[in-house]
Amino acid sequence: MIEKETTSTFNKSTGLPRKRFYRARAHSNPLSDSHFPVPLSPSQFDYSLHYPQLVPAASDDDNPKRIQFADIGCGFGGLLVALSTLFPDKLMIGMEIRDKVSEYVKERISALRTTNPGQYQNISVVRTNSMKYIPNYFEKGQLTKMFFLFPDPHFKEKNHRRRVISPHLLDEYAYTLAVGGIIYTITDVEELGEWMKGCLENHPMFEALMEEELENDLVVKLLTSATEEGQKVARNGGQTFQAVYRRIAPPL
């Protein structure tokens, strides 16, 4: 009986977890005190737990592999899964504040690892509030790509400080990104799209990618095609607004 219940949360043919068992509220308050564990510093983040094959626990490697891509608010993990095979030698992490959704991504990755031996070893997920704890996970200049895809728009002006892209938070993202690293943002809400573009445009440590660079970047296409939110917008024939910027050295 119990066994039947536990297996039924997975799709029989694909072995993947079924989303209907992981429904969650669409919004989460990023201002509330967190009660989940957070590493005290990046050195205390246990890589062997997240990437057991690529970063074994007892490795005495002086220069171990470090996470390079972070998907902030990864949702159901569509982008991570697509990026995993595109950049098999890069470690990536999804960060999600909603407990059930991060639980889904965890199951999804573990199912993918089981059905595709040797693959999907480079992606993982944590449940965390990235607006508060980014520096607890990554060292200065550690990341080369950061993704903010279809974030919560927080329409009301009084809630603008809850937006994940804001002038002050960009300081922290600039700290975490290596010079040359790229920040990808996309939304289907025009007002938020303008806000995110404005924040990035006015920040002294980011510059926009050229049209040509955007066309040659394989990842840009995934922003709409790989994510669950992006597919939904496409289904409904909606518009999307993206802003892709490069981290540059601060002007002297």
Partner: protein, 440 residues
Amino acid sequence: MGDAQMEEGDNTREIEVAPALIAVDPAQRSVAVAVGSDLRVYDLIGDCPVSLVDDSAKPFHSDSIRAIRYDASGKLFVSAGDDKLVKIWSTDSWFCISSVCCEKRVSAVAVSNDGLFVCFADKFGVVWVVSLKGDAENQALADKKAAPMLAHYCSIITSLEFSPDGRFIVSADRDYKIRVTVVPKNPLDGAHEIQTFCLGHSEYVSCLDFIHSPDYPHGLLISGSGDSTVRLWDVTLGSLLDTCEIGSKFDRRFTFFLKAELSATDGIEEDPCHAVTDLCTCPNGTSVALAVQSLKGIMLLNCNLSAKTLSMAKVVLVEGETLIPTSLGTSLSEGLLWMVTGISKLQGFDHSSLARVRAVSFPEDDGRDAEPVLLRDDEIPGGQKLLERLQGSVSIGNDVFLAASEALKTSMRSLLIKKQYSDEKREFRKRTRNDRKLKH
């Protein structure tokens, strides 16, 4: 568990009390104490109490002062707090040069080493900056507008400090973080470049100070925290150099003091945590003085700048009275460490805002083991007149300070320590959420 029981602790809101604060002019020309909304200054050169002059639209403070400090030259003095006003005073005439309005309550202030910028932090984690350029000449009461400089994401900033070389501004918060930010050419445009984060504390960070010497002009950062540790950091790299556990089992000599003091003060439960509430580097340049929750006195640590280590040195107990310092201050030139205890808005006592001031002298360091000496009231510079001004009264009953230290402990705990709820209680607290309501 019944609803009423669940509710307990949620609604019994403690009245917010603010600790008394002390600041000393760098050349010890004056001493300032803030208790509640009251700012008291004593002029040690003229040996007289100072009367402050404030012609601004909102004269003087109307709510608890949470931060006071002199600038490095001693020409400026800044006070700020719960009334959302930052007042900048000229110490020549004790005239309020500028009154800056803030949107939120102010929790920390700092003045750049050149005395040109005043920075203050609010309870929502934003650090603001005001320029004082040009004010020296016209002395006009300008309505300054503050510009946002940097922000911690919605976390109370507990301490702000410029590095001795002026390159960095360091901010500490309730979320265990210390952020080191590069001070840009024009701080009014914002400080976007983060040098590093100093991470390692496992509770709120309560206080910061730099220790430096002619041989080590960049200095090292010292931080105190609610996790009962004091830590030593290199702010260029963000590396943790040493950790000193207050009351750890390895220092039985000192835990003895803490335990003895503790059982005498609350007697209810043994609190294993000795939160560090304030710290300041001592006149001798190698010691760090600590105020520790429930310690009737101060603790001294030795900091070895070349070896980059911190070690417990001694405890200076205040005999014969209940004095758990709420704030420490020192002047670098005169060899005196000042301490104050007291709170605002104490319930159940006649005197609403009393303070007690004591001083410890550090003798010239010719004999290696020169012991710090706690000065008697008549030995303090300014003597009775100073105490009358700064304390509000010459003699104050012991029971007042006992009650005060308890009230303060509770208040600081509810302000800075994160609440822990059991799963059951967390579910219960969600009962009024809109999506839960619909189910019934």
